[in-house]
Structure formats: structure tokens, C-alpha cells
């Protein structure tokens, strides 16, 4: 390989700034620094500059890679400028004295105009933050134990350093690299050290991982232990502490979020995370000893994912059940002591809600999926035979029908003397209940299975043609919002915001008036589940198996519960609990405040609809042909 001989020393580095985005101009690949380090790529961006991968040209016959950490000093004040350079030099000076397999070697240090550079051992690997980001799943316990023992080992080395112990002060996933041999390397020594005590106290370390005393400017050996505990908590729960209130780990016990973690490891991490430094491990070797003892006990035994399933599962028996001739995929409705439920056997059934006795049934020519609506002494429901039916609520006597050009999977809604219902023919219909005629329809590009939400002056619904529509009561569209996949979920409107899920894996909050996106919440997979509205939160399921509870004004996740299969029905809130079913047939009762399992029942088929309640009795249908009644 030829050296770039034609280069007259270091190429000039331009100092241009992009004012709009405020980013530094990074060095281009090919630029040679100090006539020696040829920049190849940017591998990280920090607060004051970038980190590059570079080739050391002093080794012409082998490719020796180094990491070049850059610091651009743009402080206007000369005193501040000097301090910044001094801090950077201190990082270099600390590194020079260290020798440990988990600490990168330092090769060189130099300044050029207002940029300073550290040349370090190149770690070919990924940091833990990137590893966390690459998956939605927590890291498994054995792996976390192995890495943590290595981190304790390097902390022990730093803490016993002579003449002065070194406190790393910034243990966190992005500062921990995992190299090709799955070994830990600590990176970024000293970035936190440049912050001075101001009127408002010292800001050092990283919010979320730093212990309480660090915010007051104290850093001890226990500071690093706490931050390691915080890092382990993040790895095992996949819950980013920077998004949570500081020092709130006690409110997010690891095993509540990830029941696969052993009680012993949870105890070790809780000890590291004690609020008071004196209650934590006295030093890193003590924590390492605890971890090693645990690793010996559990060995390298792989844990199977199924042995914790029956953790808090209780034996719940239905009060009664009623069997239809085919699957029940929809949601029952209770009104005036009667339970109405549609079935794939083409019938709408009316049962006595307290005893489950059969009262009457009404036959259509297609399966009935959606939730029947009871109003004005009538039951309104659609069928796969393309018709909206209206029958007498007490007797099931036929009153009238309305024909569309497609199967109906949408639950009807009523307002202003009209029924609003979507059809697979792509229309949302407004049908006058006194003339039985349609007043108008809105045509969309795909089936309308999302049930409309009606406010005082607007109608909101989604459709399978990847859009969400807001119309007025004249049937003229006020705004549309395009999603990337169908919107089957039925929307809900509260305080001027409309909420719905899409199969594009987003849960949306749009301004009800304009359709502006206020926030979006990302799930791992799409969702057809309609949200349920709690006091200040929204609860919805997803094909990623989770039941989510998020704050409605900030989209912040309150909790999530992992079900055993996808959740397609809408969660149902009754008193302090949430009820939902999954495609594997499980029916869950989950505590609303904490997101913990209250009980679970396993039916003989998928549960695709939602539950409903009356007098402390919960009703739900299953594709095992049965509708079940449970005590709430």
C-alpha cells in the first residue's frame, strides 16, 4: 500500500459551522492529522466534537486502526478555553498511567488550532447503548452478570489506583463497549469533569444513571457502584432511566418488568442502587464477589422462557358460559339486563346477563363480528351479508335493514337521529333512523372497519386504505391523515385530541381540529387494538404482545405488560382493572395502576374482541364458540 506522499503535511481543517443545524463540520475521510492519522469514518459524536476511526500511517505494512477523539474548543471566554484544554489533557494524563484489559490504551495527544485530539486504541465492537437499541428485548441475565463482573473488575482497578483512586463518574451503557471477544472496555474517561459548580450546584455525570450525591457534587466509590446498578437495571428491563424520574429505580423493580431475572440478581442491583451511599456495596470487589457467587450458583444454565409463566396466575373459573354454533370474534353488549353477542354462526344472540340463559336469536346470512349497539329500544348491528340490521331489543323482532355493498365489520354508532357505520365497500354511511335511508356516505379507498367516534360536531374514523379521516356531520371531510398501514383501530377523542393505533406500528395522538400530529408512540409491531381511556392514560394492545399504558398528554409509558400472544381487541377498563384477551386464548385481568397481573383465564380459542361489564360481571367471547362471564 502506498502512503499519500503528495500530501504536504496535514491538510487544512476548515472551521465552518452549519448555523441552522448547529452541527460541527466533521473531518472528511482521507484527511490526515499530524501527518500520521488518516481519518476513515465517524464512529461517534459527542458534545464537543466527534470520534473517528483512523488508520495509523506509521505502520505502512499493516493496517493499524486507532480511535481519534476530537474536542473542538469554541468557548468565547479565554479562561474557559484554557480550562477546557486542561481537562482534555487531564483525561490523556489519566489514561497514560493506566494498564488494564478493560481500558483503552492511549497512543498520542496533540492540538491543532482550536481542536485537540486524543489517539486511542480502536475497539472493534459495539457499545451497550447500541446493543440495547438494536433489540426491544432485555439482555439475558447470564450475559449481564458476566459483563457486570468485568465492569466491577475494572472499577476495582480504578478505585485502588495509587496514589489517588480514580472515580470513573460516568458509568452508563454508551461508555461501555463490548469488543469482538465479548469483553467489556470502558471508554470516555473524564468528559464529565469539566463542569464547575455554579449557583445552581454542580451538573456532572449522566442524569438517570448518577446517584443522588453526585448531583450535590460528591463523587465516591459508591457513585460508580450506583451507576453500574443503574446500567444493569437498564440492560435487564430495557427501560431507559434517562426517561424516568431520577432515583426512581425502587418504583420499577426489575422482576416486575422482566420476571425472567432471578430474585438474587435483583437484590444485588437493589443494593447497588440504594439512595444512601452507605447502604450500597462498600466497594467494587464486594459487589463483584456477590455477582461471582451468584454466577457460580446459577452456572451457565440457560433459563427457559416458559418456567415463569404461572408466576402469579390464579385459578379463575367463569360464573357461566354459553356456547354458540361457531366462533365469537366480536364484543358483547349489555343493556337492561340483556347480553347481546354476535357469532360467526350468523346469529345475534340475546342472553340473560345474570344467568347466561338463552332468550332469543336473530339469524342473518353472514358472520357477525362487531359490537352490537343498543339504543331507542332497538339493537343495531352489521353482518358479513353486507347489511345493517335493526331488531327490537326485548324480542329480537326484525324492524328494518340497510344494505351496503360489502361485509360489515364495523360497530355502529348513533347521534343526531342517524346511525354511522362503515362497510368493506369503502364507505362510511350516515343512515337516518326514521326514514331508514342513507343521508350521505363518505367514500374512502378501502374497507372501513374502524368504528367512528362521534363528537359534538365531528366524526372520526380510520380505514384500511392507510388513512384516518375527520368529517363533519354534513359528510364533508375536514382533514385526512395518511398512515403507512391500515387503521383498523377505533379512535377515541378526549380534550381536543384524537387517539388511535395503526398497523404501521405507531399509536397516534392528533389534534382533533387540524389533524396535526401531537405525539406518536412506537410499538414493535402494528396494532388493530382500539385504545381505552383511563383517567390520564391510554391503554392499548399490539401485535407485539404488549399491553401498553401511556400518559395521554406526554405519551410517556406508565407500564407495559407482556401477554403471551398478540392483543387485537380493545382493552376494557372496569373499576381498578383492565381486561383483555390474546390470540392464544388467554384472558387477562391486569391491575390498572401498576400493570401487574391480577388473574388469567385460558379459553379454548383466540380472543379477538373486547370485554364488557355489568354489575361486577365481566363478559367476553372467544373463538372456542363461547361467551364467558367472570366476577370482576
Amino acid at each position: 500500500m502506498e502512503l499519500p506522499q503528495d500530501q504536504p503535511g496535514t491538510r487544512k481543517i476548515t472551521e465552518t459551522l452549519d448555523n441552522d443545524t448547529g452541527t460541527f463540520l466533521q473531518l472528511h475521510s482521507g484527511v490526515v492529522l499530524a501527518e500520521r492519522y488518516q481519518i476513515q469514518d465517524v464512529i461517534g459524536v459527542g458534545g464537543m466534537g466527534s470520534v473517528y476511526r483512523a488508520r495509523d500511517l506509521h505502520f505502512p505494512n499493516v493496517i493499524k486502526l486507532v480511535a481519534v477523539k476530537e474536542m473542538i474548543n469554541q468557548a468565547p471566554d479565554p479562561v474557559v478555553r484554557k480550562t477546557i484544554v486542561k481537562n482534555f489533557e487531564r483525561e490523556a494524563n489519566i489514561l497514560v498511567t493506566l494498564n488494564h484489559p478493560s481500558i483503552p490504551k492511549i497512543y498520542d495527544f496533540f492540538s491543532h488550532e482550536n481542536r485537540s485530539y486524543l489517539v486511542l486504541e480502536y475497539i472493534n465492537g459495539k457499545d451497550l447503548e447500541a446493543i440495547l437499541k438494536s433489540s426491544l428485548e432485555p439482555i439475558n441475565e447470564d450475559q449481564v452478570i458476566i459483563w457486570s463482573i468485568q465492569i466491577c473488575d475494572v472499577l476495582e482497578y480504578l478505585h485502588t489506583h495509587k496514589p489517588e483512586p480514580i472515580i470513573f463518574r460516568d458509568v452508563k451503557p454508551s461508555n461501555i463497549m463490548i469488543n469482538q471477544s465479548n469483553h467489556v472496555v470502558l471508554v470516555d474517561f473524564g468528559i464529565a469533569k469539566m463542569f464547575k459548580t455554579g449557583q445552581k450546584g454542580t451538573m456532572i455525570g449522566t442524569e438517570g444513571y448518577s446517584p443522588p450525591e453526585q448531583y450535590r457534587g460528591d463523587a465516591t466509590l459508591q457513585t460508580d457502584i450506583y451507576a453500574l446498578g443503574a446500567t444493569m437495571h437498564h440492560l435487564l428491563t430495557h427501560r431507559d432511566p434517562r426517561l424516568e424520574t431520577p432515583f426512581s429505580f425502587g418504583e420499577r423493580q426489575i422482576r416486575q418488568i422482566n420476571p425472567l431475572v432471578s430474585k438474587e440478581l435483583e437484590t444485588i442491583i437493589n443494593t447497588a442502587l440504594e439512595y444512601n451511599p452507605a447502604d450500597r456495596f462498600a466497594n467494587a470487589s464486594e459487589m463483584k464477589a456477590a455477582l461471582v457467587a451468584l454466577a457460580r450458583r446459577t452456572g451457565a444454565l440457560p433459563r427457559s422462557g416458559s418456567n415463569n409463566l404461572s408466576l402469579s396466575e390464579q385459578d379463575v373459573k367463569p360464573l357461566w358460559w354459553f356456547e354458540c354454533e361457531d366462533e365469537i370474534r366480536g364484543t358483547p353488549t349489555v343493556d337492561n339486563g340483556l347480553l347481546y353477542v354476535g357469532s360467526y354462526d350468523n346469529n345475534l344472540y340475546a342472553l340473560d346477563a345474570t344467568k347466561g340463559q338463552f332468550l332469543w336469536k336473530f339469524a342473518t346470512k353472514g358472520g357477525i363480528v362487531a359490537k352490537p349497539l343498543v339504543a331507542e329500544n332497538s339493537v343495531f348491528f352489521g353482518s358479513a351479508d353486507n347489511k345493517l340490521y335493526v331488531v327490537q331489543a326485548r324480542t329480537g323482532k326484525f324492524l328494518w335493514e340497510f344494505l351496503t355493498n360489502g361485509a360489515i365489520h364495523c360497530s355502529p354508532k348513533i347521534a343526531e337521529g342517524h346511525i354511522f357505520i362503515g362497510s368493506d365497500d369503502g364507505n362510511l354511511y350516515a343512515v337516518n333512523i326514521s326514514t331508514f335511508q342513507k343521508s350521505w356516505e363518505i367514500h374512502t379507498g378501502g374497507p372501513v372497519r374502524s368504528s367512528p367516534f362521534l363528537t359534538k360536531d365531528m366524526i372520526y374514523f380510520g380505514c384500511e386504505a392507510n388513512e384516518f379521516i375527520c368529517s363533519d356531520y354534513r359528510g364533508s371531510i375536514k382533514w385526512r391523515y395518511l398512515t403507512k398501514r391500515p387503521v383498523t383501530s377505533s379512535p377515541i377523542v378526549a380534550d381536543g385530541i384524537v387517539y388511535f393505533a395503526s398497523q404501521d406500528a405507531n399509536f397516534y395522538a392528533l389534534d382533533a381540529k387540524s389533524g396535526w400530529v401531537i405525539w406518536r408512540f412506537r410499538m414493535a409491531k402494528g396494532s388493530v387494538s382500539s385504545p381505552a381511556l383511563g383517567e390520564n392514560s391510554l391503554i392499548f394492545g399490539s401485535a407485539d404482545n404488549f399491553l401498553y399504558c401511556v400518559d395521554k398528554s406526554s405519551s410517556r409509558e406508565q407500564w407495559r405488560y407482556k401477554c403471551d400472544h398478540q392483543v387485537s381487541g380493545s382493552p376494557f377498563i372496569y373499576k381498578d382493572a383492565i381486561y383483555c384477551g390474546t390470540a392464544s386464548g388467554s384472558f387477562y385481568s391486569i391491575d390498572y395502576a401498576s400493570g401487574r397481573l391480577r388473574w388469567k383465564f385460558i379459553s379454548g380459542g383466540a380472543i379477538t374482541g373486547s370485554a364488557t361489564a355489568f354489575n361486577d360481571v365481566i363478559y367476553v367471547g372467544s373463538t372456542d364458540h363461547k361467551v364467558y362471564a367472570f366476577m370482576a
Binding site: 441552522d20 443545524t21 448547529g22 452541527t23 459527542g46 458534545g47 464537543m48 473542538i72 469554541q74 468557548a75 468565547p76 471566554d77 479562561v79 474557559v80 480550562t83 468528559i191 464529565a192 469539566m194 463542569f195 464547575k196 455554579g198 449557583q199 445552581k200 450546584g201 451538573m203 449522566t206 442524569e207 443522588p212 448531583y215 450535590r216 434517562r242 424520574t245 431520577p246 432515583f247 439512595y275 343526531e416 337521529g417 342517524h418 337516518n432 343521508s439 363533519d472 356531520y473 354534513r474 395518511l482 380534550d495 381536543g496 395522538a509 389534534d511 381540529k513 387540524s514 389533524g515 396535526w516 400530529v517 401531537i518 405525539w519 406518536r520 400518559d551 398528554s553 406526554s554 405519551s555
Partner: protein, 305 residues
């Protein structure tokens, strides 16, 4: 809306509550007081387009020699009868740190966030056929705060600042904050609702029930922030969206106001002045009367219900 429904659906005619019975009205002959006048002239007529007044005030206080706070506010109305979109942006930044970096930090923060949000959101509103925004409002604001972070680290290293932003768009207000500058809703009935939770050590200690609210007021660490713009990390602001109260106020202020003047006194100032700028002046006078220990900044938005 009712009228439209009647026209389309031919509903049975209802008597509108807004109609006066002939012969019953206007029996009072003495001149009406201002409040009574307001009641009859505005009571049932919603202001179209919906709008708001913004007042603000700033003072160095009595014990500091220079001001490290920065405030920004703007408001605009675009109404074409179909879509009325009021837009407002308010920012309070309370700088801290040695040298001149506190004031640089707060000024850089306020300028950067205003520039980005005006470019991204306000300019977007004025486009003829705008494409839908790729980002959500809350994401746009979060990204803006991260840009602010980078700019502050660059231009005011060693300095830090709080940052509280209120973006009013249509009927919703989105609030983002880092630090302990607060946002409140103040309702006409006297309720004061604090919207932001301080990112401060004392707030955290209150949450952990280690100290009480009263103890927090005099706690030696009451100035320690858990989060501020100026750390070398991506900053995660708390972002929340609320429906604007039909009538009432939104207030943003630095701790130079909320730490010094009691809520009841703030409410008295706000409710006694119909002009929010005068209310701000009065609140600042109160803070200085109570010693003026810190810089004082306040922005008051009055919603005309």
C-alpha cells in the same frame, strides 16, 4: 353546529338558549358596572377567531448585579373562517454558571429554540399547500431542545440554563421543560394548576417523602438541579400537551418569581388586571418587595374565552 345539523337532518326545532324572550330583556335601567357589561356583551358569544394576549416582565431583582434570564414571546393569528389557527410561542430560560456563561447560555437557548420552532412549525403554517409534517409536534420540540443543548455546550461551556417552552397551536398548548422554570394554568375561579414538575433535588426529595414542601423552601440544596441544558448529554425534556382552558391564563416564570411570591398573591395580581402586561409588572413588584433575591422573569398568556 346545531343549526347545520337541523338543516341537514331536519331535526325538530329546539329553542336555542342564546335567544332572548321578547319583553323580558333589558329591564335594568341603571348604568351597568363593567363586570355586568362584560357579562351581557360577551357571555354567549365566543370570540372568533380564538385569541390570546401575551404580557411579560423581567427584572434583575435587588440582590444580583446582572440578569441571566432570557424570555421570548410571539403570537399570531391566521383565520380564514374555515381553519382558525392561533399560534403562540413563549420561552423562559434561567441561566446559571460562572463568568458570563449563565447569560450566554440562557440567550443561546431562547434564540435557538425560537428560531427552530418558528422555522419548522410557524413557517409550515404559512405554506400554501403544506405537506404533512414528518415529525410529531412533541418530537419537533424534543429535537429543538437537543439542538439547544448542542449550541449551549458550544457557545457557553461551563454554563447551564433551564428552559421552559410553551407552544400554542390551535386549541392545544404543548409544554416542554428542563429545570425548574415553571408553567401554570390559572383558572378564573382561582385554581392554580402547576403543569411542570421541577427537575430539582428538593422536588425529588419531596417525591421520596424525605422532606415536605415547606422544608423545601429553605433547604440548603434548593438550588440543585437534576437536569439542565448544558450537560454534555442528550437532554430529555418533559413534554406534555394540554387543551387550552376556555378562559384563564397560562404563566411561565423563573424561580425568581415562584420561589418568592405566594401563589395566592400571584392569583390576586393576575385577576386584578385585565392587561397581562400590567399583571406581570405587578407580580415583579411583589417579588422585589419580598427581597428580589434572584432574577425575575415571567410571561403571562391571557386566553380570551
Amino acid at each position: 353546529m346545531n343549526n347545520i345539523l337541523k338543516n341537514i337532518f331536519k331535526l325538530k326545532k329546539e329553542k336555542s338558549s342564546e335567544q332572548f324572550e321578547p319583553g323580558v330583556t333589558m329591564v335594568q335601567t341603571t348604568p351597568l358596572s363593567e363586570d355586568q357589561l362584560k357579562a351581557v356583551s360577551f357571555a354567549n358569544v365566543a370570540l372568533r377567531p380564538p385569541q390570546f394576549l401575551i404580557g411579560c416582565g423581567q427584572s434583575v431583582g435587588l440582590q444580583r448585579d446582572h440578569n441571566e434570564d432570557t424570555i421570548f414571546s410571539m403570537s399570531s393569528i391566521l383565520a380564514d373562517g374555515r381553519n382558525d389557527v392561533p399560534f403562540g410561542l413563549c420561552v423562559v430560560a434561567d441561566g446559571m454558571g460562572g463568568h458570563l456563561n449563565g447569560e450566554i447560555a440562557s440567550a443561546v437557548a431562547a434564540r435557538t429554540v425560537a428560531r427552530i420552532l418558528i422555522n419548522k412549525i410557524y413557517t409550515h403554517l404559512l405554506e400554501n399547500n403544506p405537506d404533512p409534517m414528518e415529525e410529531s409536534l412533541q418530537e419537533t420540540i424534543e429535537h429543538a431542545v437537543n439542538e439547544v443543548q448542542k449550541n449551549v455546550v458550544r457557545y457557553a461551556p461551563g454554563g447551564g440554563t433551564t428552559l421552559t417552552i410553551a407552544l400554542i397551536l390551535g386549541e392545544q398548548v404543548t409544554i416542554a421543560h428542563v429545570g425548574d422554570s415553571r408553567a401554570y394554568f390559572i383558572y378564573p375561579d382561582g385554581r392554580i394548576q402547576r403543569l411542570t414538575k421541577d427537575h430539582s433535588l428538593v422536588q425529588r426529595m419531596i417525591d421520596l417523602e424525605e422532606i415536605t414542601e415547606a422544608e423545601a423552601k429553605n433547604h440548603p440544596h434548593r438550588n440543585v438541579l437534576l437536569k439542565a441544558i448544558g450537560q454534555a448529554e442528550p437532554v430529555y425534556p418533559d413534554v406534555q400537551t394540554h387543551q387550552i382552558p376556555k378562559s384563564g391564563h397560562l404563566m411561565l416564570c423563573s424561580d425568581g418569581l415562584w420561589g418568592v411570591v405566594a401563589e395566592a398573591d400571584l392569583y390576586r395580581s393576575i385577576s386584578s388586571q385585565s392587561d397581562p402586561a400590567l399583571a406581570c409588572k405587578e407580580m415583579i413588584n411583589l417579588a422585589n418587595k419580598n427581597g428580589g433575591p434572584d432574577n425575575i422573569s415571567v410571561i403571562l398568556v391571557k386566553f380570551q374565552g
